[in-house]
């Protein structure tokens, strides 16, 4: 008796070993992978809406944190096991498209006019379309109203320049109580890239790195000096223990650059939600705010290309864009649906995000950015710690990029 039972249990366990992901009741199951937990409700809503229309299809969502997402996707690409549908990012797009990993979406014949042209173009390669625009994001200046009120200083406005930013931050500095005026961390998209383009510099354009340009180096230097010379930003050490976003939310920095994707987290944080507001970025020689957009891509070797394409088309539809907006996921890419997102934020100046698209600069990317991104972070860290000067770090990075891109 005991033996039979043991055998039975073993048999069950044996089955568990080889059972694939729970078999769906529908005829077709497709997997849908992305990295942002904050956007999970939005993505699930889209998947559910699609399943309601197509009862024979089951869409399985998979969230993986940013770093692991790309590690995994790369392993999956090499192993021929990509998820059927997944988010694509400008940094990585080129690598996947040139390796033939993406499903050609050209024959969907979508109308791309509702999407920002820059983002459609981002995912267009050699005349074919490889991803459908999902959303866009820009960078704004967030400030803590309470700290401004306490210091009796007027809130930031669209007349601000780098100098106003520096001088105001100095006034807000209260180092004794651990409060800094501004956050200038080692960050690209919500960091020094904005300054570089406001200063007429470049990161990467037409096959050339822009890190050797004096404008670029000057901008990066100004950014780093906020911390190193002006003392208006917490130290690099401090950012490793608490990210700039956390420090802002804890009221330890009065201002920071912040991407629109953080808004759903900020407005649900009990401590900061009523204390902060947004403003367009201060200007340098010119105005600029880095924008970027994600896309929905499909796997080249999916078992169900027709279903995948149909699902991607649905993700790009007005209906799905409204769904992701209503779930506070991100600013939808589909023109005219932005207000579904902005309407959710009543007490902050969320509109500045959509305003800045006018002079927005596409987040720089290059065919091999994924190969030099890590080097960039490391070299910039060396510049922050004083191991290299800003010029040395930039020049070394310039050479590293040119070498990688030349191959």
């Amino acid at each position: 008796m005991k033996k039979t039972l043991a055998m039975l249990v073993t048999l069950c366990l044996l089955l568990s070993l080889f059972a694939p992901v729970a078999l769906a009741e529908g005829d077709v199951t497709i997997t849908f992978a992305f990295w942002d937990t904050n956007q999970e409700p939005g993505m699930k809503a889209i998947a559910e809406a699609y399943m309601a229309k197509n009862p024979n299809v089951k869409v399985e969502t998979q969230v993986t944190p940013w770093n692991e997402y790309w590690t995994k996707l790369e392993a999956a690409a090499q192993g021929g096991a990509l998820p059927d549908v997944f988010w694509m990012h400008s940094n990585q797009f080129y690598k996947y498209v040139t390796a033939g990993m993406l499903l050609d979406l050209t024959d969907l014949n979508l109308d791309y006019s509702p999407y920002p042209a820059g983002i459609t173009a981002l995912y267009n390669y050699e005349g074919s379309q490889w991803a459908v625009p999902k959303d866009y994001d820009t960078i704004a200046l967030a400030y803590n109203k309470e700290l401004f009120d306490k210091a009796g200083i007027a809130y930031p406005d669209d007349t601000w320049t780098w100098d106003t930013l520096r001088e105001t931050a100095k006034k807000l500095n209260d180092v004794e109580n651990g409060v800094y005026g501004f956050a200038a961390p080692n960050d690209t998209q919500s960091g020094y890239y904005n300054f570089v383009y406001q200063n007429g510099g470049k990161i990467f354009e037409n096959g050339e790195s822009g890190f050797n340009l004096p404008e670029t180096q000057e901008a990066i230097k100004t950014w780093m000096n906020f911390m190193l010379e002006d003392g208006i930003s917490p130290s690099l050490e401090s950012f490793t223990d608490m990210s700039q976003d956390d420090q802002f939310q804890a009221g330890k920095v009065a201002m920071e650059f912040i991407g629109s994707w953080m808004m759903s987290a900020f407005t649900s944080n009990e401590f900061i939600k009523d204390k902060f507001d947004l403003c367009v970025l201060p200007q340098g020689k010119t105005r600029a705010s880095i924008y970027n957009g994600l896309g929905y891509a499909g796997a080249y070797n999916t078992a169900n290309p027709d279903v995948v394409k149909d699902f991607i088309a649905f993700c790009g539809s007005e209906e799905a864009n409204i769904l992701q907006a209503q779930n506070k996921a991100a600013i939808p890419a589909y023109k005219g649906t932005e207000h579904y997102f902005t309407d959710l934020f009543t007490n902050i100046n969320i509109a500045c995000y959509t305003e800045m698209i006018e002079y927005g600069v596409q987040f720089p990317f290059s065919p091999n950015k994924s190969l030099w991104e890590g080097t960039e972070t490391e070299l910039m860290t060396s510049a922050y710690t004083g191991e290299l000067t800003v010029e040395e770090a930039c020049n070394q990075l310039h050479e590293a990029i040119m070498e990688i891109e030349a191959e």
Partner: protein, 307 residues
């Protein structure tokens, strides 16, 4: 694996043999050997091949000869990471093993609640490393962490435990010691308990002090266990990955002076996508491990006392 075992191997008598029963033997080892060939040997060979190649993105790799190795030895960071790894080993092994030894000797002195103490010290071993890293990251937090707050009571200035280039690796080593001390303690205690009491009784009659007894009886008699513990610690510290990977990101100012060879390998392979260069790093670690293994064999003959 221990050198003790191999040594005892050399001294063992010829085993009993069933004549002409190769078939059985092969059948018995087949699953393990086939498994190891597929799971480990083939990947190892693959790594050697990869170390002579350069891969570009997701495309096919091309042969570049020893270029990766040239780059390796010219790379300042590889020497820094090698030093970091060895430094981590120097920090964790002597202190960790010494602490474990002291605690084991104390626990061996027939005191009340021995099992409770032993159970507490062993506890970190049953917690996933991700959880260990998270809780220590929280305790070490320079801004709001409890450790700095506590030390602040005694007037100690803020210490950037995990972001000061000089202390980050020490903090990681502290976590390493905290996690492993119970494990080492259990092994050493077992060794202590197998020492026959007659040695102590004899020395007591001779009037030896507790300290003399410790150095003249305890240490020699548990030297095989101690040696095994040291070797195991040396090997795991050279392969250190989890703690440093989870706690030290590339924007951390302490990054360069903290990352170990395995973390560097992982970042090159999976974050910078340089599989070829990453494989060369692995081969370099392999060389270091071989050298240390050789030292271990040599020192065992000199230092370890077998009964």
């Amino acid at each position: 694996m221990s050198a003790q075992a191999i040594n005892s191997d050399l001294r063992r008598k010829k085993p009993f043999r069933f004549q002409s029963d190769w078939g059985w033997a092969y059948l018995l080892i087949a699953p393990t050997i086939i498994g190891l060939i597929i799971l480990n040997l083939y990947p190892f060979v693959e790594t050697i091949i990869l170390s002579t190649q350069k891969s570009q993105g997701l495309g096919a790799a091309k042969f570049v000869g020893l270029q990766n190795y040239e780059k390796l030895f010219a790379d300042k960071q590889i020497w820094q990471s090698t030093w970091n790894t060895l430094y981590y080993m120097i920090l964790t092994v002597p202190v960790g093993v010494f602490l474990a030894l002291v605690l084991a000797v104390l626990l061996n002195s027939k005191i009340r609640g021995r099992d409770v103490y032993r159970g507490i010290y062993f506890m970190p071993m049953v917690v996933a490393p991700a959880a260990v890293a998270m809780v220590w990251k929280w305790i070490f937090n320079a801004e709001v962490g409890i450790l700095n707050q506590f030390l602040g009571l005694f007037g100690v200035a803020t210490i950037n435990w995990l972001s000061d280039p000089n202390t980050a690796i020490i903090s990681c080593a502290m976590i390493g010691i905290w996690s492993a001390v119970g494990y080492d303690l259990v092994l050493i205690l077992a060794g202590l308990q197998s020492i026959s009491t007659s040695y102590y009784e004899a020395s007591e009659i001779d009037g030896a002090s507790a300290v003399q007894r410790f150095f003249h009886i305890t240490v020699p008699l548990i030297s095989p266990t101690l040696f095994f513990v040291v070797i195991m610690r040396v090997m795991t510290s050279i392969k250190q990955f989890d703690t440093v990977y989870l706690l030290i990101k590339s924007t951390n100012p302490a990054y360069k002076k903290t990352i170990t060879l395995m973390v560097m390998f992982y970042r090159e392979a999976f974050e910078k996508f340089n599989k070829g260069y990453a494989s060369a790093i692995v081969m370099w670690s392999f060389v270091i491990i071989m050298v240390i293994t050789a030292i271990q064999f040599w020192s065992e003959k000199k230092l370890v006392h077998y009964e």
